[in-house]
Symmetry: C2
Subunit: 263 residues, 2 copies
DNA sequence: TAACCTAATTCCATTTAGTGGAAATGACCG
DNA sequence: CGGTCATTTCCACTAAATGGAATTAGGTTA
């Protein structure tokens, strides 16, 4: 007695595939292992369905089964898919070298991100450190769209309908402080319209500025520059903003000749 | 008129989910964009089925649709899943710092990998470079199991049945030179049994040695050390092998106290 | 060692939701 | 503007997925 088709999205899609992917998405940083029971709770799926789908995902190499603990963990195949994302991204291929050079030149962090639902996902985040050995590159990390300069710059770069849909999701996400938050987000978007970038300091001691990067036939991206362990100030934001705008100009130039290369 | 259930694996699983994941796997480094037609060819699925599944995958955020070119590309959500793999891996959490230190100390590349089908996937690959700025970390990259020391060490660490199954896949993969290749693989496995590690030099100017890492309630891993831009020799392999065995010992120690910490 | 308790998994009748071929639509080119 | 190719939608069909119930397996205590 399968349920009538009235699940999450509403739009038609392959239900089993949706559910399987939703199971994979239940795993995220901080939620490393899950048993079938927990997955059923988190996803709202029937236990027997979860049991069958996790079995399939294990057979496909997407989940590792930890028999002793009766639970699962994301498997290596998922990681290699993630690697394929980066290798296949023409934006990253073009901008990666520029970003590394700029990070070294300005001595600050440079990031490139795009959206996954209501989160921003770093395609590349180059963390500057005075000690070269400690410099690092992170990819795939998520930060909340509504709180970060990255996310707000992104919002300024996408079509109105999409933006409204996302702002609706922020409201559903955090019941508290919603009114003020949405106003703040919209203010940031206006600032991006005016100055080309916006600044935010959602982590103490960290100042970040970001700008949208809209290119034909690519998803909308956002580029950010940030400094940690400093005292955020308007003057500092303005200085970094200047660097960012100059850099973004060069990025757009580098990206403009992309569609010719079929890649 | 759906086909009777006699597809790929044979074992029962959710067919739609299998197909959807197989579509994602059709994208890999070098195959950045695919249209529905190409996907249908590569996967052997009917065109209409592919059309529907890609639509679902786009709705789920796993594929980006490039309308202008009528094709698809892996999307950011896949990358964040890949990031979750690394964050959720207790092996990487424990061994990552050790590997970085060892790479700096010995001035060579250190890698940690496990299997995805007949490929080895790097959970972490620390590329040593005399210029600290150029040191890099790669994750998710695949190398062929049968040609690499990493893969052969892995084969030496897994149960017999699994190993035989994989060796069968090598034969199907490369029709040529199969006989000699399989013998070579089996020789490497015996060397691992004897010395604890094996060496291989499948890329010119690169020497790599690897050892399996078998820990209760974790997938089997392999650790490697490698040098590039050198002349491979038995003596050099022996020297690196010595470093590797000492390092692996410390790794096993560090990993042994894992199951107590539930995570 | 056995009995208990909890939770995961298999079973099974039900019927939905996925299927693939055919038709229609849409893009691209001369 | 008409022709050609590829992609997507439509549709009748039924196989395959479904969820509740029954069963099995694990872990714990006496």
């Amino acid at each position: 007695m399968a349920l009538p088709r009235q699940y999450s999205g509403g739009a038609n899609g392959n239900r089993s595939l949706e559910r399987g992917i939703e199971i994979l998405r239940a795993f995220r940083p901080g939620i490393d292992t899950l048993g079938n029971g927990e997955i059923a709770e988190r996803t709202g799926l029937p236990r027997s369905t979860v049991s069958r789908l996790t079995k399939t995902l294990v057979a496909l190499g997407m989940l590792d089964e930890i028999k002793a603990e009766r639970n699962y963990r994301l498997a290596a195949a998922v990681l290699s898919l993630g690697h394929a994302v980066r290798m296949g991204s023409p934006a990253l291929r073009v901008l990666g070298p520029l970003m590394r050079a700029e990070s070294t030149r300005r001595k600050l962090n440079v990031g490139l991100a795009t959206a996954d639902r209501a989160m921003m996902v770093y395609l590349e985040s180059i963390r500057y450190n005075p000690r070269p050995t400690l410099r690092s590159i992170v990819a795939g990390q998520q930060v909340p769209m509504e709180l970060t300069s990255l996310g707000r710059a992104y919002l300024a770069g996408i079509p109105d309908a999409e933006r409204d849909r996302l702002i609706g999701q922020f409201q559903r996400r955090s019941a508290a402080a919603t009114r003020a938050l949405v106003a703040d987000v919209q203010k940031s978007i206006r600032v991006v319209r005016r100055d080309g970038y916006c600044a935010a300091s959602w982590q103490p001691g960290v100042l970040a500025v970001a700008t949208p990067m809209v290119v034909e036939s690519l998803p909308v991206y956002a580029i950010n520059m940030s400094l940690q362990d400093i005292e955020p100030s308007d003057d500092l934001a303005k200085e970094i903003g200047g660097y960012l705008m100059a850099f973004a100009e060069r990025c757009k130039e580098a990206l403009s000749g992309l569609q010719d290369f079929r890649g």
